[in-house]
């Protein structure tokens, strides 16, 4: 009898841990999906971004830009965005239009160069490249699409950047072999499901970069936005901070504004 109970408990434990393992993946996916869903319905937004690049010895350089985003309701397509650079001076007006696509299809991108007064379609297969020489890659700046990753919930702990909050710790492994990362470890706070910290592991598996989201603010009583993004490269000592200012939502942008032919006009 005793042996029977022990066997039964072991089988049950084994069985439960099996269920538990599966649910860790499901739980990870669920949290990410919920977090993304919270952002639905913002329609469009504009914001002014300022990027400060710092090297190891403290030398700084600045990139400023205005960002327009148009929410795509069609689930098979990504959002549309325009980045208009205002600084450095010699690239003022240079604009990048992106129509995001779901992987493995590359995003469609167009670039307007004011010096030539021409719009060029550009290739964007290099999503892993650095964005304007910063520590951010395109990959880092785009929203997570659940289809692109395998998620695994690891545990709930105090958030590393703000210990007063509880965080879900979720490991995201990219399905795309071309990703610049072997995995990312995402910390999402339990109460509001906001990204708090992301740790990037390079292709080799070593921890390479750490991104912290700071100064969250709520807009339209619903949408959380971090005013400050701090990205630190732990291997080079370089860092890039992005500060977001003047968030505006539902500004009556139309999908036509995100047409390549309109890019020169938007750049002004």
């Amino acid at each position: 009898m005793k042996i029977f109970i022990i066997t039964l408990t072991s089988i049950l434990t084994l069985f439960c841990s099996q269920i538990f393992a599966q649910s860790a993946e499901e739980k990870g996916l669920e949290i990410i999906e919920k977090s993304i869903a919270l952002d639905n319905g913002f329609v469009d937004s504009t914001v002014v971004g300022k990027m400060i690049l710092k090297d190891k010895s403290g030398n700084e350089s600045v990139r400023s830009f205005k960002n327009f985003i148009f929410e795509e309701l069609d689930e098979t397509l990504g959002d549309k965005s325009i980045i208009v650079f205002t600084e450095p001076r010699d690239v003022k007006g240079t604009s990048l239009l992106t129509h995001a696509n779901i992987e493995p299809k590359d995003d469609d991108q167009w670039l307007y160069l004011p010096a030539l007064k021409r719009v060029k379609r550009i290739s964007s297969s290099n999503r892993t490249g650095k964005f304007v020489s910063s520590e951010f890659s395109y990959e880092d700046l785009s929203t997570d699409e659940p289809e692109d990753y395998n998620f695994l919930w690891l545990e709930d702990i105090n958030c590393p950047a703000d210990p007063s909050l509880q965080c879900h710790v979720i490991e995201a492994t990219p399905k795309n072999k071309k990703s610049g990362y072997s995995k990312r470890v995402i910390y999402i706070d339990v109460s509001e499901l906001r990204y708090q910290t992301v740790k990037f592991h390079n292709r080799r598996g070593d921890l390479e970069k750490e991104l912290n989201f700071k100064s969250y603010q709520k807009y339209l009583d619903k949408f959380w936005r971090a005013d400050l993004l701090e990205m630190k490269n732990l291997q080079t000592g370089k860092s890039t901070n992005i500060t977001w200012e003047n968030y505006e939502f539902q500004t009556n942008l139309s999908i036509n504004d995100f047409n390549p032919e309109k890019l020169a006009k938007m750049a002004r």
């Binding site: 160069l113 010096a115 030539l116 060029k120 379609r121 550009i122 290099n126 490249g129 020489s133 610049g180």
Partner: protein
Amino acid sequence: MYLFEMSNFFPKLAELVIKRRIFFILIGFVIAFALMAGAPNIKFDTDARVFFDENNPDRIALENFEGEYSKDDNLAFVISPKNGDIFTPKNLNAIGILTEKAWLLPYVRTVYSLTNYQNSYADGDSLIVEDLITDIENISEEDANYAEEVANSRIELKNAFINSDNSISQVNILFRLPGKDAIIEIPYVMNEVEILKKEFESQFPEIELRMVGFVPLNNQYSVSGQDDTAKLTPMMILVTLIAVAIILRTIFGVGLIFIIIVLCAGSSVGALGWSGTNINNATVVAPLMVMTLAVASAVHILSSVRQTMTITPDRNEWVRRAIVDHGPAITVACLTTAIGFLSLNFSISPPFRQLGNIVFVGVIAALFYTLTMLPALISLLPLKKQNQKATMDKSMSFLAEFVIRRKNSLLAFTAALIAILVFGISKISLEDDFLRYFGPEYELRQSIDYYEDNFAGLNALEYSVNSGKENGVNDPEYLMKVEALVNFLRSQPNISSVRSYTDVVKRLNQNFNEDDESFYKVPNSELEAAQYLFLYELSLGYGLDLTDQINVDKSALRVTANVSKTTTKGFLELDKKVQSWFDENAPELSTKSTGTSQVFSKISSRDVPAMLKGTGLALIGISFIILLVIRNVKYGLMSLIPNLLPAAMAFGLWGYFTGSVTLAVSIVVAMTLGIVVDDSVHFMLKYAKARKEGKSPEDSVRQAFEKVGMALTTTTIGLFLGFCVLAQSGFAVNKDMAQLTAITVVFALVVDYLLLPPVLIWIDNFKLKRKTT
């Protein structure tokens, strides 16, 4: 030596050693073991830059340059498919796989290869910047042909990622080593690199894979240093002991010598360990030098014992005579040698300073052990008495007679020989090729030679061309001048390839104008150039950027010219040409060259004057000791001849036979001075003593030969053999230094035997004649 004799120091020492022999044996071991306890702290340096002092101006300039752009800690896989054609789908696939795997190595910053070359082109109204091979798993014949066409039309790829006949390519991996502990980091990287290499070779047996670059080169510094230790130490001990056995004909003496040299070498290495310095390729031979020099001292004691034992069976008398008769000479020899090595502290190259100090400690230890512990051991242990006279003694009197009989013709002959030899110095050129410091027996050296024979140059001239203003790199006028510089460099026959951002901006201009070739030029306006650059930076692939081409505030561009098969001289001449190009065409952009090759190409010419000062001071110090010992200004001055000539003759001989010499050149004179001075001092002392006793110059020469001839010959043979062993080093600096020293030591004996006696006789007879008339 009169000084020493008068002071009664050595007889007192002899009595003390005999009385307290157990104490001296024990204290000797205690001191040696205390010093040796420092040895486990020693590690091997893995950095070619150990040769550069921190305040070497060339090194400072190089480090500033690297701070602005990047430090090229690289490793290049050289890929040679056996079918001789890179552009087959299979070979391109192999390069692609190697490129991707290389990204997974530790500390990787960037991987550059043919397949991830950022190919930019216009496609209708689109501008594409993408990898040359976009999908390495599916490469068609057309893709391979297209890649071949592109690669052969891009000046930045030819001779950089593809050789002239498309048979060799390379994957260049740049590392960002944390730099905390190179001794751990570099072998760690190399270990994973070797695994990757093996994996690749088994996957693609039809492709030969070689490695070149700074990371394997730095690793080689530690590998070959350890090789030298493992190979040369037993060889040195064996050769020394066999030589001693043959000369002294006593196995027991051999055992004693073994103990002494091991203790001396151990003490010197231990002292290095206690000082907290790492061992490197140049200092690795120091303990072996100490062994050789210690043997020379110990042989004096043993050969004296050997002579005395034919006269008396009294063991203590053997020891007493050895110390009293030879103590002064050994002391002088060790002190002068120590001064010579101490003067290496004037070198600008830290390893030479360390070498000097290690040997200094070893020589002082040798002096101590041979005058206390060795005689104590002899008096204590049962050394078998032998009656047979050593053969060498007989031959010395023959030599003496020969020299006296033929003194005039010898004078003429040696003078002529010296003149001819010394003239050879003019044929010597200073050549430091740090890529070839390692012998052809090493795989890395073979790969380097292969690379330079079949691909491109590994030495690089680096220039940071500064526009003088922030974002100035986009100024078309500036860009055109840099382009002109690049074109000038490309027109030089020794330059295999040139890397500069100007190629990128010209191509982008063409791409933006629908690939119209007439737009393959610097853009018209600053804004255009700036926006092209911006676009390009937006489009680069994984891990790629322009930070190693353009400095942070975009005020300066880097121009790298790879120079193939060029010696130090050619390298510096090339730089001179570039400098005069600047003067004529763009004086405002003028900048000095830098790069690791440049620092090495100047190190010898920087160290020679520094060491001249050191050598001069050593000469003064040593001459002072000679005067103190000989107490005769005339003989003191005359001793300069046999002391300075041998090194000059050795360099001359070198000039005729080899011509080029490495960094070792600067230290050889100072080093050998202290060693060769012993021979002449001993000879002159015995000569002067005989003269004082009223003997004729001829008889005095006879007596000198008889008294010290054998000892001088045996020590010279010992030193010669010792340095011949060191000359087996796989490291060119050690090899040159050892060979030059070995030749110098032999020439010193030649001069002491064949030139010095005729000169002494001639001068003294001349004076005698003048007195009589």
